[in-house]
């Protein structure tokens, strides 16, 4: 079929910045401004904040939450929420480190097993949400606790040490100028680019948005919405597994108590990044900016000598502010 385009002004084709509605650029701009303001504030509070080394450190600290936030973004885009993300990350870390040390598995295989376990949990989440039609909130609250218990039981609440070097390779650094960067940061950026491409440029990605927008209408259009949801939960689980590897390689150990703050941090990052908790709206790159905001707050408050309990408090306030902004902007759009 050839596209006959009448030359009349009224039907002039708009082939410009497809497919983002104009409003979304504002949605991405918001978190960037928040990030700039946070940086400006902490620069006035600490002399160390504005240094290449500190920024590199923030990027390393952000990598784990940043990768978890990609999976969380996928789930939230479909209108769900995943509370199990941090605990799955911890479980994946324990599985891959124990498999490599206690079982003596080749490191690469152990890593794949860790990612496999978190993906399997993602599959369970997805099956319960799609087949039994349970709310994702309660399903993932359950798997969060199961994953936590499994982590503690399997590790005996002991940190796993003496890891093979391949397992911590992503924690190694390279330098650009005088500043050291970790390979884990690069891995995170590559994953963001990949997620951004899939969500924006492929039909599968657009179907994730459609399911979040209007699941029933999307089903009637002929899209296998159950399969889309299932794929999203499995992909999220796999991403938490990659986050496990980043966490293990950054700390050099398998930590059964990892991931405790990452649950809320990842959700905060996604919502700060402009993705709507009501589903169907948002850009994955926003979650990276949101993760950076969370990371800058944690780093800045630490530099100021504020105790970590206050950091938790600040994250709680941030997530409520972000959700409030989301709700108010939606009301304004109606």
């Amino acid at each position: 079929m050839t596209a006959v385009v009448p030359s009349s002004e009224a039907t002039k084709p708009d082939v410009g910045g497809f497919p983002w509605p104009a409003g979304l650029s504002v949605a991405v701009l918001g978190p960037v401004i928040a990030l700039a303001l946070a940086c400006a504030f902490f620069a006035t509070q600490s002399d160390h904040f504005l240094s290449g080394g500190n920024f590199s450190l923030i990027l390393q600290q952000v990598a784990v939450v940043g990768v978890i936030a990609i999976g969380q973004t996928l789930v939230i885009l479909t209108g769900g929420i995943d509370l199990s993300c941090g605990m799955l990350m911890a479980l994946g870390g324990i599985v891959m480190t124990r498999f490599a040390t206690t079982l003596g598995m080749p490191p690469l295989l152990a890593i794949l097993c860790g990612i496999g376990v978190t993906s399997l949990f993602g599959l369970v989440n997805g099956l319960l949400v799609t087949r039994i039609r349970l709310p994702s909130f309660i399903v993932t609250l359950g798997t969060m606790n199961i994953a936590f218990a499994a982590t503690q039981l399997y590790s005996g609440a002991q940190t796993v040490t003496d890891l093979p070097p391949l397992m911590t390779a992503l924690g190694d650094t390279f330098s650009i100028g005088a500043t050291q960067f970790a390979w884990g940061t690069v891995a995170m950026l590559v994953l963001y680019a990949l997620a951004w491409f899939v969500l924006r440029e492929t039909a599968a990605g657009r179907h994730v948005y459609a399911v979040g927008n209007n699941p029933e209408a999307t089903r009637l259009v002929g899209i296998a919405t159950q399969r889309v949801l299932l794929a999203v939960y499995v992909a999220a689980g796999a991403l938490y597994g990659v986050a496990s590897l980043l966490s293990v390689s950054r700390t050099g150990v398998g930590d059964p108590n990892a991931g405790q703050t990452d649950n809320l941090d990842a959700i905060t990052a996604v919502v700060l990044g402009g993705t709507s908790l009501f589903g169907g709206r948002g850009v994955v790159i926003g979650s990276l900016v949101g993760a950076l905001v969370v990371g800058v707050f944690r780093n800045g408050l630490t530099l100021m000598g504020v105790s970590s309990i206050y950091q938790v408090l600040v994250t709680g306030v941030l997530v409520i502010l972000a959700v409030t902004a989301d709700q108010l902007s939606r009301r304004g759009a109606r």
Partner: protein, 266 residues
Amino acid sequence: MTAVAQPRVVMKATSLVKRYGQVTALDGSDFELRAGEILAVIGDNGAGKSSLIKALSGATVPDSGEIQLDGVVTKFRSPIEARRAGIETVYQDLAVAPAMTIAENLFLGREIRRPGWRGSALRMLDKRRMIEESVARLAELKVGIRSMSQALETLSGGQRQCVAVARAAAFAKHVVIMDEPTAALGVKEGGMVLELIRRVRDRGLAVVLISHNMPHVFEVADRIHVARLGKRATVLDPKKIGMSDTVAVMTGALRPDDLPAEALAH
């Protein structure tokens, strides 16, 4: 009987039965739809109107009876199968994906991929072509929406419904079924959608219009299928019968046998 050539029958159903437990929703309903016509389906609540439409659009499977499409017996087990057979349905709830663009909504589930390796290996969408085709399709139907890359939610209710109808018309090979397409719209917006439905018919598609709105039915319908008590009570010719008599037949106050012969559609 005069030997006037009847238009081709596109879709035909005979003796459809559908029971839900104790309730018989369809009690041997017949149905006939011809090429290039707008057939209105009216009926009181519980007359079997929506059960009939669900059976025709594949949303439910009738317990017994037969559906023919272009003279071939067919069985739809899902709306997707009906859609593959060339039957598109427009549902009452307006928008498909409100936060997505018009072009994306038009091509949702039927996306066009880029030619070459970008499409086959990277599975990239051909956004430019989808926008161009959207412009062409909406222009064909004279839907005056300027930008295909605006979000559906920025449109008025009538414009959104026009996009839904245009989507159906663009992909239907045989039949477009519209379930209360004007129910949620104001007078002017409703008129805009009715005008569009006429243009869809004029392009040769057969249109089934389910509506409670008698003025709308009389404005566009070529024939009126009256559902009553799970059956087809009769088929009326809107040019030969008034609105009040039609409503009387629908509610059972008037028996079809008591109508003058010319009121019945042939």
